[in-house]
Protein backbone atom coordinates (compact mmCIF):
# COMPACT_ATOMS: atom_id res chain seq x y z
CA UNK A 1 0.00 0.00 0.00
CA UNK A 2 1.24 3.48 -0.69
CA UNK A 3 1.40 5.48 2.51
CA UNK A 4 -1.68 7.55 3.04
CA UNK A 5 -1.06 11.01 4.39
CA UNK A 6 -4.10 13.20 4.87
CA UNK A 7 -2.20 16.45 4.42
CA UNK A 8 -0.53 15.43 1.20
CA UNK A 9 -3.75 14.00 -0.18
CA UNK A 10 -5.65 17.19 0.70
CA UNK A 11 -2.98 19.30 -0.97
CA UNK A 12 -3.09 17.12 -4.08
CA UNK A 13 -6.89 17.30 -4.18
CA UNK A 14 -6.90 21.07 -3.91
CA UNK A 15 -4.12 21.37 -6.45
CA UNK A 16 -5.77 18.97 -8.87
CA UNK A 17 -9.20 20.60 -8.66
CA UNK A 18 -7.66 24.04 -8.98
CA UNK A 19 -5.56 22.92 -11.89
CA UNK A 20 -8.45 21.22 -13.67
CA UNK A 21 -10.73 24.22 -13.18
CA UNK A 22 -7.98 26.45 -14.52
CA UNK A 23 -7.58 24.19 -17.53
CA UNK A 24 -11.35 24.27 -18.02
CA UNK A 25 -11.33 28.07 -17.89
CA UNK A 26 -8.65 28.22 -20.53
CA UNK A 27 -10.47 25.59 -22.58
CA UNK A 28 -13.38 28.02 -22.83
CA UNK A 29 -10.95 30.64 -24.08
CA UNK A 30 -9.45 28.10 -26.47
CA UNK A 31 -12.90 27.18 -27.68
CA UNK A 32 -13.70 30.80 -28.43
CA UNK A 33 -10.32 31.46 -30.00
CA UNK A 34 -10.43 28.36 -32.19
CA UNK A 35 -13.96 29.01 -33.32
CA UNK A 36 -12.98 32.59 -34.12
CA UNK A 37 -9.94 31.53 -36.11
CA UNK A 38 -11.95 29.00 -38.05
CA UNK A 39 -14.42 31.72 -38.95
CA UNK A 40 -11.60 34.07 -40.03
CA UNK A 41 -12.07 36.21 -36.96
CA UNK A 42 -9.57 37.08 -34.21
CA UNK A 43 -11.54 36.15 -31.13
CA UNK A 44 -11.45 37.66 -27.64
CA UNK A 45 -8.30 39.76 -27.35
CA UNK A 46 -9.18 42.65 -25.07
CA UNK A 47 -8.82 41.29 -21.54
CA UNK A 48 -5.16 40.98 -20.69
CA UNK A 49 -2.38 40.33 -23.22
CA UNK A 50 -3.92 38.61 -26.22
CA UNK A 51 -7.12 38.00 -24.29
CA UNK A 52 -5.42 35.66 -21.84
CA UNK A 53 -7.39 36.94 -18.85
CA UNK A 54 -10.72 36.42 -20.59
CA UNK A 55 -11.64 33.33 -18.49
CA UNK A 56 -11.26 35.43 -15.32
CA UNK A 57 -13.57 38.05 -16.74
CA UNK A 58 -16.07 35.36 -17.74
CA UNK A 59 -15.96 33.80 -14.28
CA UNK A 60 -16.34 37.19 -12.63
CA UNK A 61 -19.32 37.87 -14.82
CA UNK A 62 -20.98 34.64 -13.72
CA UNK A 63 -20.37 35.63 -10.09
CA UNK A 64 -21.85 39.07 -10.47
CA UNK A 65 -24.94 38.14 -12.47
CA UNK A 66 -28.31 38.19 -10.77
CA UNK A 67 -29.28 34.79 -9.47
CA UNK A 68 -32.81 34.12 -10.65
CA UNK A 69 -34.71 31.16 -9.26
CA UNK A 70 -38.00 31.06 -11.14
CA UNK A 71 -41.19 30.52 -9.14
CA UNK A 72 -42.25 27.50 -11.12
CA UNK A 73 -39.22 25.30 -10.41
CA UNK A 74 -38.93 22.44 -7.96
CA UNK A 75 -36.53 24.21 -5.63
CA UNK A 76 -34.84 21.23 -4.01
CA UNK A 77 -33.90 19.47 -7.20
CA UNK A 78 -33.29 22.73 -9.01
CA UNK A 79 -30.62 23.63 -6.46
CA UNK A 80 -29.31 20.09 -6.28
CA UNK A 81 -28.79 19.58 -10.01
CA UNK A 82 -25.69 21.78 -10.58
CA UNK A 83 -24.09 20.32 -7.45
CA UNK A 84 -24.72 16.78 -8.68
CA UNK A 85 -23.42 17.62 -12.13
CA UNK A 86 -20.21 19.25 -10.95
CA UNK A 87 -19.72 16.84 -8.08
CA UNK A 88 -19.88 13.70 -10.20
CA UNK A 89 -17.68 15.29 -12.83
CA UNK A 90 -15.02 16.22 -10.29
CA UNK A 91 -15.23 12.90 -8.44
CA UNK A 92 -14.39 11.10 -11.64
CA UNK A 93 -10.98 12.75 -11.55
CA UNK A 94 -10.01 10.72 -8.49
CA UNK A 95 -8.75 7.74 -10.47
CA UNK A 96 -7.46 9.60 -13.51
CA UNK A 97 -3.66 9.58 -13.62
CA UNK A 98 -2.31 12.99 -14.54
CA UNK A 99 1.40 12.33 -14.36
CA UNK A 100 3.96 9.68 -13.50
CA UNK A 101 2.48 6.53 -12.04
CA UNK A 102 3.82 3.24 -10.75
CA UNK A 103 1.57 0.21 -11.03
CA UNK A 104 1.02 -1.77 -7.85
CA UNK A 105 3.12 -4.97 -7.80
CA UNK A 106 1.51 -8.22 -8.83
CA UNK A 107 0.81 -10.73 -6.07
CA UNK A 108 3.63 -13.15 -5.32
CA UNK A 109 2.89 -16.87 -5.37
CA UNK A 110 3.44 -18.48 -2.00
CA UNK A 111 5.34 -21.34 -3.68
CA UNK A 112 8.23 -19.13 -4.72
CA UNK A 113 11.17 -19.10 -2.35
CA UNK A 114 11.32 -16.12 -0.04
CA UNK A 115 7.77 -15.20 -1.04
CA UNK A 116 7.10 -13.09 2.04
CA UNK A 117 10.39 -11.20 1.80
CA UNK A 118 9.90 -10.47 -1.91
CA UNK A 119 6.37 -9.31 -1.24
CA UNK A 120 7.50 -7.04 1.59
CA UNK A 121 10.27 -5.57 -0.54
CA UNK A 122 7.94 -4.95 -3.48
CA UNK A 123 5.33 -3.34 -1.25
CA UNK A 124 7.97 -1.16 0.38
CA UNK A 125 9.27 0.03 -2.99
CA UNK A 126 5.71 0.65 -4.15
CA UNK A 127 4.89 2.53 -0.96
CA UNK A 128 7.80 4.89 -1.51
CA UNK A 129 6.89 5.70 -5.11
CA UNK A 130 4.75 8.74 -5.61
CA UNK A 131 1.76 8.46 -7.90
CA UNK A 132 0.14 11.37 -9.66
CA UNK A 133 -3.29 9.91 -8.94
CA UNK A 134 -5.62 10.83 -6.11
CA UNK A 135 -6.54 7.22 -5.47
CA UNK A 136 -3.56 5.15 -6.60
CA UNK A 137 -3.66 1.39 -6.90
CA UNK A 138 -7.43 1.25 -7.28
CA UNK A 139 -8.09 -2.03 -9.02
CA UNK A 140 -11.58 -1.16 -10.22
CA UNK A 141 -10.10 2.06 -11.67
CA UNK A 142 -11.88 2.56 -14.94
CA UNK A 143 -15.11 0.94 -13.69
CA UNK A 144 -15.34 3.70 -11.10
CA UNK A 145 -15.01 6.19 -13.90
CA UNK A 146 -17.80 4.59 -15.92
CA UNK A 147 -20.02 4.44 -12.85
CA UNK A 148 -19.57 8.14 -12.22
CA UNK A 149 -19.96 8.87 -15.90
CA UNK A 150 -23.40 7.34 -15.87
CA UNK A 151 -24.21 9.16 -12.63
CA UNK A 152 -23.50 12.40 -14.43
CA UNK A 153 -26.75 12.04 -16.31
CA UNK A 154 -28.60 12.61 -13.03
CA UNK A 155 -27.43 16.20 -12.92
CA UNK A 156 -28.80 16.75 -16.38
CA UNK A 157 -32.10 14.97 -15.75
CA UNK A 158 -32.65 16.75 -12.43
CA UNK A 159 -31.90 20.09 -14.04
CA UNK A 160 -34.25 19.51 -16.93
CA UNK A 161 -37.08 18.06 -14.88
CA UNK A 162 -36.98 20.43 -11.92
CA UNK A 163 -36.93 23.48 -14.17
CA UNK A 164 -40.56 22.73 -15.09
CA UNK A 165 -39.91 23.98 -18.58
CA UNK A 166 -40.63 22.06 -21.75
CA UNK A 167 -37.41 23.01 -23.47
CA UNK A 168 -35.35 22.02 -20.46
CA UNK A 169 -37.19 18.74 -20.24
CA UNK A 170 -36.69 18.03 -23.93
CA UNK A 171 -33.00 18.76 -23.56
CA UNK A 172 -32.60 16.49 -20.58
CA UNK A 173 -34.63 13.72 -22.24
CA UNK A 174 -32.38 13.87 -25.27
CA UNK A 175 -29.36 13.89 -23.02
CA UNK A 176 -30.46 10.89 -21.00
CA UNK A 177 -31.32 8.87 -24.10
CA UNK A 178 -27.99 9.82 -25.64
CA UNK A 179 -25.87 9.12 -22.58
CA UNK A 180 -27.59 5.81 -21.86
CA UNK A 181 -27.06 4.72 -25.47
CA UNK A 182 -23.45 5.78 -25.70
CA UNK A 183 -22.50 4.25 -22.35
CA UNK A 184 -22.59 0.89 -24.09
CA UNK A 185 -20.09 1.49 -26.91
CA UNK A 186 -18.05 3.57 -24.46
CA UNK A 187 -17.59 0.64 -22.13
CA UNK A 188 -17.54 -2.07 -24.75
CA UNK A 189 -14.86 -0.48 -26.91
CA UNK A 190 -12.34 -0.44 -24.09
CA UNK A 191 -13.16 -3.92 -22.83
CA UNK A 192 -10.60 -5.20 -25.32
CA UNK A 193 -7.91 -3.11 -23.66
CA UNK A 194 -8.79 -4.50 -20.25
CA UNK A 195 -8.74 -8.06 -21.53
CA UNK A 196 -5.32 -7.62 -23.10
CA UNK A 197 -3.83 -5.94 -20.04
CA UNK A 198 -5.75 -8.08 -17.58
CA UNK A 199 -6.49 -5.17 -15.31
CA UNK A 200 -8.81 -2.22 -14.97
CA UNK A 201 -6.17 -0.24 -13.15
CA UNK A 202 -5.12 2.76 -15.28
CA UNK A 203 -1.58 2.66 -13.88
CA UNK A 204 -1.18 -0.93 -15.06
CA UNK A 205 -2.59 -0.02 -18.46
CA UNK A 206 0.03 2.71 -18.81
CA UNK A 207 2.79 0.38 -17.65
CA UNK A 208 1.67 -2.19 -20.24
CA UNK A 209 1.92 0.36 -23.01
CA UNK A 210 5.24 1.64 -21.70
CA UNK A 211 6.87 -1.67 -22.49
CA UNK A 212 5.59 -4.38 -20.17
CA UNK A 213 3.02 -5.61 -22.68
CA UNK A 214 5.13 -5.85 -25.79
CA UNK A 215 7.66 -8.03 -23.98
CA UNK A 216 5.15 -10.83 -23.53
CA UNK A 217 3.89 -10.77 -27.11
CA UNK A 218 5.26 -13.50 -29.45
CA UNK A 219 5.99 -11.10 -32.35
CA UNK A 220 6.34 -7.70 -30.79
CA UNK A 221 9.09 -8.76 -28.42
CA UNK A 222 11.27 -9.44 -31.46
CA UNK A 223 10.57 -6.12 -33.15
CA UNK A 224 11.73 -4.02 -30.25
CA UNK A 225 10.61 -0.38 -30.28
CA UNK A 226 10.35 -0.50 -26.51
CA UNK A 227 7.71 1.82 -25.13
CA UNK A 228 5.95 2.81 -28.33
CA UNK A 229 3.42 -0.03 -28.37
CA UNK A 230 0.39 2.02 -27.56
CA UNK A 231 -3.08 0.57 -27.79
CA UNK A 232 -3.89 2.88 -30.67
CA UNK A 233 -1.76 0.53 -32.79
CA UNK A 234 -3.70 -2.59 -31.84
CA UNK A 235 -7.12 -1.08 -31.26
CA UNK A 236 -7.52 1.84 -33.65
CA UNK A 237 -11.20 1.05 -34.12
CA UNK A 238 -11.73 0.91 -30.37
CA UNK A 239 -10.04 4.30 -30.08
CA UNK A 240 -12.38 5.71 -32.70
CA UNK A 241 -15.45 4.29 -30.98
CA UNK A 242 -14.26 5.41 -27.56
CA UNK A 243 -13.48 8.92 -28.77
CA UNK A 244 -16.86 9.27 -30.48
CA UNK A 245 -18.62 7.91 -27.38
CA UNK A 246 -16.82 10.34 -25.10
CA UNK A 247 -17.89 13.22 -27.32
CA UNK A 248 -21.44 11.95 -27.01
CA UNK A 249 -21.09 11.54 -23.25
CA UNK A 250 -19.73 15.06 -22.88
CA UNK A 251 -22.48 16.24 -25.26
CA UNK A 252 -19.95 17.97 -27.46
CA UNK A 253 -20.58 18.62 -31.10
CA UNK A 254 -21.45 16.71 -33.25
CA UNK A 255 -23.49 15.15 -30.44
CA UNK A 256 -24.67 18.28 -28.66
CA UNK A 257 -28.38 17.66 -29.10
CA UNK A 258 -29.13 18.16 -25.38
CA UNK A 259 -28.18 21.79 -25.72
CA UNK A 260 -29.00 22.53 -29.31
CA UNK A 261 -29.60 26.23 -28.90
CA UNK A 262 -31.34 26.54 -32.24
CA UNK A 263 -33.97 24.02 -31.22
CA UNK A 264 -34.16 24.13 -27.43
CA UNK A 265 -33.48 27.74 -26.39
CA UNK A 266 -30.63 26.56 -24.20
CA UNK A 267 -31.17 22.90 -23.43
CA UNK A 268 -31.41 21.47 -19.94
CA UNK A 269 -29.88 24.59 -18.38
CA UNK A 270 -32.39 27.03 -19.87
CA UNK A 271 -33.77 28.09 -16.48
CA UNK A 272 -30.41 28.51 -14.81
CA UNK A 273 -28.65 31.79 -14.32
CA UNK A 274 -25.54 33.21 -12.74
CA UNK A 275 -23.11 30.83 -11.08
CA UNK A 276 -25.39 27.79 -11.44
CA UNK A 277 -25.32 28.20 -15.19
CA UNK A 278 -21.59 28.64 -14.95
CA UNK A 279 -21.31 25.36 -13.06
CA UNK A 280 -23.46 23.59 -15.64
CA UNK A 281 -21.27 24.84 -18.47
CA UNK A 282 -18.11 24.06 -16.52
CA UNK A 283 -19.25 20.47 -16.00
CA UNK A 284 -18.96 19.74 -19.69
CA UNK A 285 -15.41 20.96 -19.77
CA UNK A 286 -14.51 18.88 -16.72
CA UNK A 287 -15.98 15.87 -18.52
CA UNK A 288 -13.96 16.75 -21.59
CA UNK A 289 -10.76 17.00 -19.58
CA UNK A 290 -11.41 13.72 -17.74
CA UNK A 291 -12.28 11.85 -20.92
CA UNK A 292 -9.26 13.28 -22.73
CA UNK A 293 -7.09 12.02 -19.89
CA UNK A 294 -8.73 8.62 -20.23
CA UNK A 295 -8.17 8.46 -23.99
CA UNK A 296 -4.54 9.40 -23.44
CA UNK A 297 -4.15 6.79 -20.71
CA UNK A 298 -6.02 3.95 -22.40
CA UNK A 299 -4.92 4.35 -26.00
CA UNK A 300 -2.09 6.85 -26.30
CA UNK A 301 0.40 5.45 -23.84
CA UNK A 302 -0.24 7.68 -20.84
CA UNK A 303 2.99 9.35 -19.79
CA UNK A 304 5.18 7.52 -22.30
CA UNK A 305 6.37 9.26 -25.44
CA UNK A 306 8.95 7.33 -27.49
CA UNK A 307 11.46 7.21 -24.67
CA UNK A 308 11.35 10.92 -23.97
CA UNK A 309 10.01 10.21 -20.49
CA UNK A 310 13.18 8.36 -19.48
CA UNK A 311 15.68 10.91 -20.83
CA UNK A 312 16.64 11.99 -17.35
CA UNK A 313 17.48 9.66 -14.47
CA UNK A 314 16.69 12.34 -11.93
CA UNK A 315 13.35 11.22 -10.46
CA UNK A 316 12.02 14.77 -10.11
CA UNK A 317 12.84 15.74 -13.69
CA UNK A 318 11.37 12.46 -14.89
CA UNK A 319 8.18 13.07 -12.91
CA UNK A 320 7.84 16.57 -14.33
CA UNK A 321 8.48 15.26 -17.85
CA UNK A 322 5.82 12.58 -17.46
CA UNK A 323 3.37 15.12 -16.07
CA UNK A 324 4.01 17.41 -19.02
CA UNK A 325 3.71 14.59 -21.55
CA UNK A 326 0.41 13.31 -20.19
CA UNK A 327 -1.05 16.80 -19.76
CA UNK A 328 0.18 17.70 -23.23
CA UNK A 329 -1.66 14.71 -24.66
CA UNK A 330 -4.76 15.73 -22.74
CA UNK A 331 -4.63 19.30 -24.05
CA UNK A 332 -4.01 18.01 -27.57
CA UNK A 333 -7.08 15.80 -27.37
CA UNK A 334 -9.18 18.67 -26.03
CA UNK A 335 -8.05 20.89 -28.88
CA UNK A 336 -8.84 18.09 -31.32
CA UNK A 337 -12.35 17.92 -29.86
CA UNK A 338 -12.69 21.62 -30.45
CA UNK A 339 -11.48 21.28 -34.02
CA UNK A 340 -14.02 18.52 -34.59
CA UNK A 341 -16.70 20.72 -33.09
CA UNK A 342 -16.37 23.25 -35.89
CA UNK A 343 -15.89 20.62 -38.57
CA UNK A 344 -18.81 18.21 -38.24
CA UNK A 345 -22.36 19.51 -38.11
CA UNK A 346 -24.77 18.22 -35.49
CA UNK A 347 -26.32 14.79 -35.96
CA UNK A 348 -30.05 14.36 -36.29
CA UNK A 349 -31.54 12.40 -33.42
CA UNK A 350 -32.30 9.29 -35.48
CA UNK A 351 -28.80 9.38 -36.95
CA UNK A 352 -27.44 9.66 -33.43
CA UNK A 353 -29.33 6.58 -32.27
CA UNK A 354 -28.54 4.65 -35.46
CA UNK A 355 -24.87 5.39 -35.03
CA UNK A 356 -24.84 4.07 -31.50
CA UNK A 357 -27.03 1.00 -31.83
CA UNK A 358 -26.51 -0.08 -35.42
CA UNK A 359 -22.88 0.81 -35.96
CA UNK A 360 -20.86 1.37 -32.83
CA UNK A 361 -22.21 -1.37 -30.59
CA UNK A 362 -21.90 -4.17 -33.21
CA UNK A 363 -18.41 -2.98 -34.13
CA UNK A 364 -17.36 -2.86 -30.50
CA UNK A 365 -18.76 -6.35 -29.96
CA UNK A 366 -16.93 -7.78 -32.97
CA UNK A 367 -13.74 -6.12 -31.83
CA UNK A 368 -14.22 -7.65 -28.42
CA UNK A 369 -14.69 -11.09 -29.94
CA UNK A 370 -11.48 -10.64 -31.92
CA UNK A 371 -9.61 -9.67 -28.76
CA UNK A 372 -10.93 -12.73 -26.97
CA UNK A 373 -9.75 -14.98 -29.81
CA UNK A 374 -6.30 -13.42 -29.87
CA UNK A 375 -5.97 -13.71 -26.12
CA UNK A 376 -7.23 -17.29 -26.04
CA UNK A 377 -4.93 -18.60 -28.76
CA UNK A 378 -1.94 -16.46 -27.84
CA UNK A 379 -1.66 -14.82 -31.25
CA UNK A 380 0.27 -11.64 -31.76
CA UNK A 381 -1.57 -8.42 -31.08
CA UNK A 382 -0.72 -7.27 -34.59
CA UNK A 383 -3.58 -9.53 -35.73
CA UNK A 384 -5.88 -7.16 -33.90
CA UNK A 385 -4.69 -4.16 -35.89
CA UNK A 386 -5.59 -5.96 -39.11
CA UNK A 387 -8.93 -7.11 -37.72
CA UNK A 388 -9.74 -3.55 -36.67
CA UNK A 389 -9.02 -2.15 -40.11
CA UNK A 390 -11.02 -4.98 -41.71
CA UNK A 391 -13.96 -4.33 -39.42
CA UNK A 392 -13.88 -0.63 -40.20
CA UNK A 393 -13.72 -1.05 -43.96
CA UNK A 394 -16.23 -3.90 -43.82
CA UNK A 395 -18.70 -1.72 -41.95
CA UNK A 396 -18.22 0.98 -44.57
CA UNK A 397 -18.80 -1.48 -47.42
CA UNK A 398 -21.87 -2.88 -45.73
CA UNK A 399 -23.17 0.63 -45.32
CA UNK A 400 -22.47 1.54 -48.92
CA UNK A 401 -24.10 -1.65 -50.21
CA UNK A 402 -27.29 -1.57 -48.22
CA UNK A 403 -27.81 2.16 -48.19
CA UNK A 404 -30.63 3.16 -50.54
CA UNK A 405 -32.16 6.56 -50.98
CA UNK A 406 -35.53 7.79 -49.78
CA UNK A 407 -37.14 7.46 -53.18
CA UNK A 408 -35.19 4.37 -54.14
CA UNK A 409 -34.66 2.23 -51.11
CA UNK A 410 -32.74 -0.99 -51.24
CA UNK A 411 -35.24 -2.93 -49.24
CA UNK A 412 -38.91 -3.37 -50.13
CA UNK A 413 -41.27 -1.30 -48.06
CA UNK A 414 -44.84 -2.26 -47.31
CA UNK A 415 -46.21 1.25 -47.19
CA UNK A 416 -45.52 4.27 -49.36
CA UNK A 417 -44.17 7.18 -47.36
CA UNK A 418 -46.68 10.03 -47.18
CA UNK A 419 -46.30 13.06 -49.37
CA UNK A 420 -44.79 11.41 -52.42
CA UNK A 421 -46.32 12.84 -55.58
CA UNK A 422 -47.74 10.55 -58.22
CA UNK A 423 -44.84 10.86 -60.63
CA UNK A 424 -42.18 9.73 -58.22
CA UNK A 425 -41.35 6.08 -58.32
CA UNK A 426 -40.82 4.38 -55.04
CA UNK A 427 -39.04 1.33 -56.19
CA UNK A 428 -38.50 -1.00 -53.32
CA UNK A 429 -36.84 -4.20 -54.29
Amino acid sequence: MPTFDLTITAIVIVGLIGGILGVCGYLTLGERKISAWMQDRIGPNRVGPGGLLQPLADGGKFFLKEEVIPDHVDKVFYLLAPAVAVGTALLALAVVPFGATTPPPDPVAMATPNAMATFEAQQKAYGESFNFVLAPGLDIGVLYLFALGSLAVYGVILAGWSANNKYSLLGSLRSSAQIVSYEIPLGMSVLGVFIIVGSLNPEKIIAWQAGAGAASDPVLSHIGLGSAWWFVLFQPLALLLFLASTYAEDSRLPFDLPEAEQELVGGYHTEYSSLKLGLMLLTEYIHLVASSFMVAVLFLGGWSLFGLESVSSDPIVAAVLKLLILCGKMVGLCVFAQLVRWTIPRFRFDQLMNLAWKVMIPLALLNLVAVIFVKQFGWSLLVLSGVNVLLFVGAGMLGARTRGTVTNPKRAVKKMPPGLPAGVTYAGR
Partner: protein, 192 residues
Protein backbone atom coordinates in the same frame (compact mmCIF):
# COMPACT_ATOMS: atom_id res chain seq x y z
CA UNK B 1 -51.80 28.45 -51.26
CA UNK B 2 -50.04 25.13 -51.65
CA UNK B 3 -47.32 24.80 -54.24
CA UNK B 4 -48.52 23.19 -57.45
CA UNK B 5 -47.27 19.67 -57.82
CA UNK B 6 -45.81 20.48 -61.22
CA UNK B 7 -43.53 23.04 -59.64
CA UNK B 8 -42.05 20.63 -57.15
CA UNK B 9 -38.70 19.23 -58.22
CA UNK B 10 -37.83 16.02 -56.45
CA UNK B 11 -34.16 15.59 -55.81
CA UNK B 12 -32.69 12.20 -55.18
CA UNK B 13 -30.68 11.85 -52.03
CA UNK B 14 -27.04 11.61 -52.98
CA UNK B 15 -25.88 8.04 -53.04
CA UNK B 16 -22.98 7.52 -50.70
CA UNK B 17 -20.20 5.23 -51.79
CA UNK B 18 -17.67 3.38 -49.69
CA UNK B 19 -15.45 6.42 -49.34
CA UNK B 20 -18.21 8.54 -47.88
CA UNK B 21 -19.54 5.69 -45.77
CA UNK B 22 -16.18 5.35 -44.04
CA UNK B 23 -16.78 8.85 -42.70
CA UNK B 24 -13.17 9.36 -41.70
CA UNK B 25 -12.02 10.66 -45.13
CA UNK B 26 -14.89 13.12 -45.02
CA UNK B 27 -13.85 14.15 -41.53
CA UNK B 28 -10.28 14.68 -42.71
CA UNK B 29 -11.55 16.74 -45.63
CA UNK B 30 -13.55 18.84 -43.21
CA UNK B 31 -10.59 19.27 -40.89
CA UNK B 32 -8.51 20.41 -43.85
CA UNK B 33 -11.06 23.12 -44.57
CA UNK B 34 -11.34 24.30 -40.99
CA UNK B 35 -7.60 24.19 -40.37
CA UNK B 36 -7.07 26.14 -43.59
CA UNK B 37 -9.37 28.82 -42.27
CA UNK B 38 -7.56 28.85 -38.95
CA UNK B 39 -4.38 30.09 -40.59
CA UNK B 40 -5.97 32.25 -43.26
CA UNK B 41 -6.05 36.04 -43.14
CA UNK B 42 -8.47 37.39 -40.56
CA UNK B 43 -11.19 39.78 -41.61
CA UNK B 44 -11.78 41.38 -38.21
CA UNK B 45 -11.42 45.15 -38.01
CA UNK B 46 -10.22 46.25 -34.58
CA UNK B 47 -12.81 48.98 -34.35
CA UNK B 48 -11.82 51.70 -31.93
CA UNK B 49 -8.21 51.62 -33.08
CA UNK B 50 -8.85 50.82 -36.70
CA UNK B 51 -11.66 52.79 -38.24
CA UNK B 52 -13.55 51.33 -41.16
CA UNK B 53 -13.75 53.19 -44.44
CA UNK B 54 -17.42 53.60 -45.11
CA UNK B 55 -18.83 53.47 -48.64
CA UNK B 56 -19.75 56.87 -49.99
CA UNK B 57 -23.41 55.97 -50.18
CA UNK B 58 -23.50 55.23 -46.46
CA UNK B 59 -26.32 57.11 -44.79
CA UNK B 60 -25.07 58.52 -41.51
CA UNK B 61 -25.42 61.85 -39.74
CA UNK B 62 -27.02 64.69 -41.74
CA UNK B 63 -25.35 67.90 -42.72
CA UNK B 64 -26.52 71.20 -44.17
CA UNK B 65 -24.40 72.22 -47.12
CA UNK B 66 -23.05 75.70 -47.63
CA UNK B 67 -22.94 77.49 -50.94
CA UNK B 68 -19.83 79.09 -52.44
CA UNK B 69 -20.25 82.16 -50.25
CA UNK B 70 -20.46 80.06 -47.11
CA UNK B 71 -24.16 80.66 -46.59
CA UNK B 72 -26.57 77.88 -45.85
CA UNK B 73 -27.80 76.46 -49.11
CA UNK B 74 -31.21 75.59 -47.76
CA UNK B 75 -34.10 77.67 -49.10
CA UNK B 76 -36.59 76.48 -46.48
CA UNK B 77 -38.93 74.89 -48.99
CA UNK B 78 -40.01 72.17 -46.50
CA UNK B 79 -39.68 69.41 -49.07
CA UNK B 80 -37.38 67.39 -46.86
CA UNK B 81 -39.69 67.80 -43.89
CA UNK B 82 -42.59 66.69 -46.06
CA UNK B 83 -40.71 63.71 -47.44
CA UNK B 84 -39.48 62.61 -44.05
CA UNK B 85 -41.36 59.48 -42.99
CA UNK B 86 -40.27 59.85 -39.38
CA UNK B 87 -41.19 63.55 -39.08
CA UNK B 88 -37.88 64.37 -37.55
CA UNK B 89 -37.13 67.59 -39.44
CA UNK B 90 -38.44 70.86 -38.06
CA UNK B 91 -37.89 74.04 -40.09
CA UNK B 92 -38.89 77.61 -39.34
CA UNK B 93 -38.60 79.73 -42.47
CA UNK B 94 -37.86 83.43 -42.57
CA UNK B 95 -37.35 85.96 -45.39
CA UNK B 96 -33.79 85.94 -46.52
CA UNK B 97 -31.54 88.90 -45.62
CA UNK B 98 -31.47 91.75 -48.11
CA UNK B 99 -28.06 90.94 -49.61
CA UNK B 100 -29.05 87.30 -50.12
CA UNK B 101 -32.12 88.47 -52.04
CA UNK B 102 -29.86 89.85 -54.72
CA UNK B 103 -28.87 86.26 -55.52
CA UNK B 104 -32.49 85.30 -55.88
CA UNK B 105 -32.86 83.84 -52.40
CA UNK B 106 -36.29 84.61 -50.99
CA UNK B 107 -36.36 82.44 -47.87
CA UNK B 108 -33.87 80.85 -45.61
CA UNK B 109 -34.29 78.61 -42.59
CA UNK B 110 -34.28 80.58 -39.39
CA UNK B 111 -34.07 77.31 -37.49
CA UNK B 112 -33.44 73.89 -38.94
CA UNK B 113 -33.67 71.09 -36.39
CA UNK B 114 -33.26 67.38 -36.99
CA UNK B 115 -33.98 64.91 -34.22
CA UNK B 116 -31.27 62.35 -34.91
CA UNK B 117 -32.94 59.87 -32.60
CA UNK B 118 -36.20 59.92 -34.53
CA UNK B 119 -34.49 59.79 -37.89
CA UNK B 120 -34.48 56.42 -39.60
CA UNK B 121 -31.65 57.38 -41.99
CA UNK B 122 -33.65 56.54 -45.09
CA UNK B 123 -32.11 59.36 -47.10
CA UNK B 124 -35.43 60.59 -48.49
CA UNK B 125 -34.71 64.15 -47.36
CA UNK B 126 -31.57 64.11 -49.47
CA UNK B 127 -33.49 62.87 -52.49
CA UNK B 128 -36.26 65.40 -51.98
CA UNK B 129 -34.02 68.46 -51.65
CA UNK B 130 -34.19 70.59 -54.83
CA UNK B 131 -31.08 72.61 -54.03
CA UNK B 132 -28.78 69.90 -52.70
CA UNK B 133 -28.74 71.47 -49.26
CA UNK B 134 -29.25 68.44 -47.01
CA UNK B 135 -27.07 65.40 -47.27
CA UNK B 136 -26.28 62.31 -45.27
CA UNK B 137 -22.63 61.85 -44.42
CA UNK B 138 -20.60 58.75 -43.71
CA UNK B 139 -20.33 59.57 -39.99
CA UNK B 140 -21.55 56.39 -38.33
CA UNK B 141 -20.48 56.81 -34.69
CA UNK B 142 -23.24 59.16 -33.57
CA UNK B 143 -23.42 59.20 -29.80
CA UNK B 144 -24.56 61.53 -27.05
CA UNK B 145 -25.15 61.67 -23.33
CA UNK B 146 -28.74 62.88 -23.48
CA UNK B 147 -31.70 63.08 -25.82
CA UNK B 148 -31.25 66.85 -26.03
CA UNK B 149 -27.74 66.41 -27.37
CA UNK B 150 -29.07 64.30 -30.18
CA UNK B 151 -31.35 67.04 -31.49
CA UNK B 152 -29.16 68.79 -34.05
CA UNK B 153 -29.86 72.44 -34.83
CA UNK B 154 -28.76 74.48 -37.83
CA UNK B 155 -25.36 75.42 -36.44
CA UNK B 156 -24.59 71.86 -35.53
CA UNK B 157 -25.62 70.62 -38.97
CA UNK B 158 -23.50 73.27 -40.65
CA UNK B 159 -20.55 72.33 -38.46
CA UNK B 160 -20.98 68.73 -39.62
CA UNK B 161 -20.61 70.08 -43.17
CA UNK B 162 -17.47 71.98 -42.20
CA UNK B 163 -15.82 69.03 -40.51
CA UNK B 164 -16.70 66.45 -43.13
CA UNK B 165 -15.65 68.57 -46.11
CA UNK B 166 -12.48 69.60 -44.34
CA UNK B 167 -11.67 65.95 -43.62
CA UNK B 168 -12.38 65.15 -47.24
CA UNK B 169 -14.36 62.08 -46.37
CA UNK B 170 -17.61 63.29 -47.82
CA UNK B 171 -17.60 65.15 -51.10
CA UNK B 172 -20.84 66.88 -51.98
CA UNK B 173 -22.76 64.06 -53.54
CA UNK B 174 -25.91 65.64 -54.88
CA UNK B 175 -25.81 67.90 -57.84
CA UNK B 176 -28.65 69.84 -59.42
CA UNK B 177 -31.19 67.91 -57.47
CA UNK B 178 -29.98 64.53 -58.66
CA UNK B 179 -27.92 62.11 -56.70
CA UNK B 180 -24.43 62.22 -58.08
CA UNK B 181 -22.33 59.20 -58.92
CA UNK B 182 -20.69 59.48 -55.53
CA UNK B 183 -23.92 58.58 -53.81
CA UNK B 184 -23.94 55.09 -55.21
CA UNK B 185 -20.87 52.92 -55.44
CA UNK B 186 -20.44 52.03 -59.11
CA UNK B 187 -21.24 48.40 -59.79
CA UNK B 188 -18.34 46.02 -59.78
CA UNK B 189 -15.80 48.52 -58.53
CA UNK B 190 -14.15 48.48 -55.15
CA UNK B 191 -15.20 51.07 -52.66
CA UNK B 192 -13.10 54.21 -52.74
Amino acid sequence: MPIAESEVAWVEETKLGLWEQLYIPALIDGLKTTLGHMISRKVTEQYPEQEPTMPLNYRGVHRLNRDAAGRVKCVACYMCATACPAHCIDIVAAPAPAEWQKDGREKYPETFVIDELRCIYCGMCEEACPVDAIELTTLYDLTGFSREQMVFDKEKLLSVFDTTTKAGTDPVRTQAGRLSVASEAPPGEPRP
